[in-house]
Amino acid sequence: MTLAPRILPHLGRALVLALLAFAIFGPLLNLVLWAFAEKWYFPSKLPLEYGLTFWQRVFAPRGNALASLGTSIWIAVLTVIVSLVVAIPAGYALGRLKLPWRGLILLAFLLPQAVPNLPVYVNIAQVFYRIGLAGTITGVVLVHASHGLVLAVWIASAAFASVDASLEEAARNMGASVWTCFRTVTLPLAAPGLMASAIFVFLESVDEFTGTYFVGVPDVTTLPLLMFNASMGGNYQIASITALLLLVPSIAFMLVVERFLKADVLAMVGR
């Protein structure tokens, strides 16, 4: 009797935590089960047989999983390059120079995220079809970059803003021109933040589905598209295995980002 008031709050907290854990890890667990299930019919709560047959099929030399993994990574790398080429000068200008309309420009990069995706992609697909970009890697990269830019530009401008201006002045004072100062002082000091933004753009691109679906199909097949096709065709094993493959870069890079993105850079985001 006397224990109840002391235990009850703990019990409540444990229950909430358990529900949260189930909400996060439940679907993932299901994914893992499906990835290793050989047979799993309706009334049974768990797979009837476990095995690696489907893994063999996915990784077979003739299987298209590896090919689409390659496509996904190639597109992601190109998207990162395009985003950084824009984000480095834009981020420097927004983070370092006293620009008028600064807030508005930063907000403009948010627009692709703010409006509903589907109508935009339908339109883009139509335009790209007319100019011959539909079904090309270039087309998909452009769509991914439009999405990745908001992250890239915002983080890059924060990274540049967090570089102490007196460090640049010291370089100029020691005889460095504007460009040399940028190359030898500003850029290396902003590099961790730029690295983090590159990783975010990469992950965003690897995961992207909607835009790729409208612009890339049928010639460009990325991993998310393969997964979609597999699960639409009822092939849950293939879908689960590709889903697990997609998790690998996300988790690996998240650990890296956590090291690169320091609090002082984060504090400057959106400033």
Partner: protein
């Protein structure tokens, strides 16, 4: 906003000039306009006869030591010091030799490959100075380089810096708000107030013959009392009629609280009550509430607060400045 106006200073070769003033007086802006980070609306800046006013910072040949030291955290000590030489296209082994020389000069041998993040405040300061000296600048600019250091390290480095500057004979402009630092380091001091140079002269001149009440107050003569001066030079309370209205400044360490009335007739005597006591090591400093104003005075013994005392200021320790006579 106008930060500086009517500033005209000449610095002789090999001389160390201190720009002294409180924060916001424009001393750092003056230094930054010499370095080229601030463009003056008008006027000329010349170094060794060469007009540098229109040049970008990298072409001015000045070397600045920053208040925050501004060492590049992604470079080693050697790379920091050698940066200016690399920019000037000096050969790699010549740079290494020069860096070693400077590290020896700074008594920091063996630190070349260290990261600047591993250095103490005093060591960072030395590296920053070595970086500035590496390029043999025509003019060395120092922006409050000691303000981030502990008192003890500061005093030590101050003496080192002065000895070093004398030895290599470099021309330097040193910004500080610390009068003691300016007095001990500089050949000449320019006192700045509200964007103007209010006095420019040797430390002795500034200290003993301040040109204005402001300079006197800034140099430590912060006791001020309004008096009138008679035709024969005698000082009297400002309440008396006639005579020339003056304000007398004096330092609190020359104002003695004396029980024995050994004061000569010429000395200033102020009567009042002790209202505050500070122990300062070599005695006590008292705030004395007198008829005209509160003044700070020194005594070697302890006096109770509220006690009536006489403050004696020697005549020759008084700095007199004219004042507008009050209408009362």
């Amino acid at each position: 906003m106008r930060v500086l106006s009517d500033v005209s200073l000449d610095v002789a070769r090999g001389e160390l000039v201190a720009l002294l003033g409180s924060s916001g007086c424009g001393k750092t802006t003056l230094l930054r306009s010499i370095a080229g980070f601030v463009t003056p609306q008008s006027g000329r800046i010349r170094v060794a006869g060469r007009d540098i006013s229109g040049l970008p910072p990298e072409k001015r040949g000045t070397a600045m030591m920053f208040q925050s030291y501004a060492l590049w955290p992604h470079m080693s000590v050697a790379a920091n010091i050698g940066y200016g030489l690399r920019m000037r296209g000096v050969a790699r082994d010549a740079i290494a030799k020069r860096v070693d020389e400077l590290l020896a000069l700074m008594q920091m041998q063996g630190f070349a490959s260290r990261s600047v993040a591993q250095l103490s405040g005093g060591q960072r300061q030395r590296v920053a100075l070595a970086r500035a000296l590496a390029v043999d600048p025509a003019l060395l600019l120092l922006d409050e380089p000691m303000s981030n250091l502990d008192y003890k390290v500061r005093i030590e480095l101050r003496h080192e810096l002065r000895a070093l500057q004398k030895r290599i004979g470099i021309t330097a402009v040193y910004v500080t708000h610390d009068r003691e630092e300016a007095l001990t380091l500089a050949d000449r001091i320019a006192v700045l107030d509200a964007g103007r140079v209010v006095q420019y002269g040797s430390p002795e001149e500034i200290f003993h013959r301040p040109a204005s009440a402001f300079v006197a107050g800034f140099m430590g003569a912060d006791n001020a009392i309004e008096l009138t001066r008679d035709g024969d030079g005698r000082l009297r309370s400002s309440r008396t009629n006639g005579g020339e209205p003056v304000v007398a400044h004096f330092r609190s360490d020359v104002a003695r609280i004396d029980a024995s009335s050994s004061a000569s007739d010429a000395d200033l005597q102020l009567h009042g009550q002790v209202v505050q006591t500070l122990y300062v090591g070599q005695g006590y400093r008292y705030r004395v509430h007198t008829d005209g104003a509160d003044v700070w005075a020194h005594a070697s013994h302890r006096i109770d607060e509220g006690a009536p005392v006489a403050v004696v200021v020697p005549r020759d320790a008084l700095l007199l400045f004219p004042r507008a006579s009050s209408a009362s």
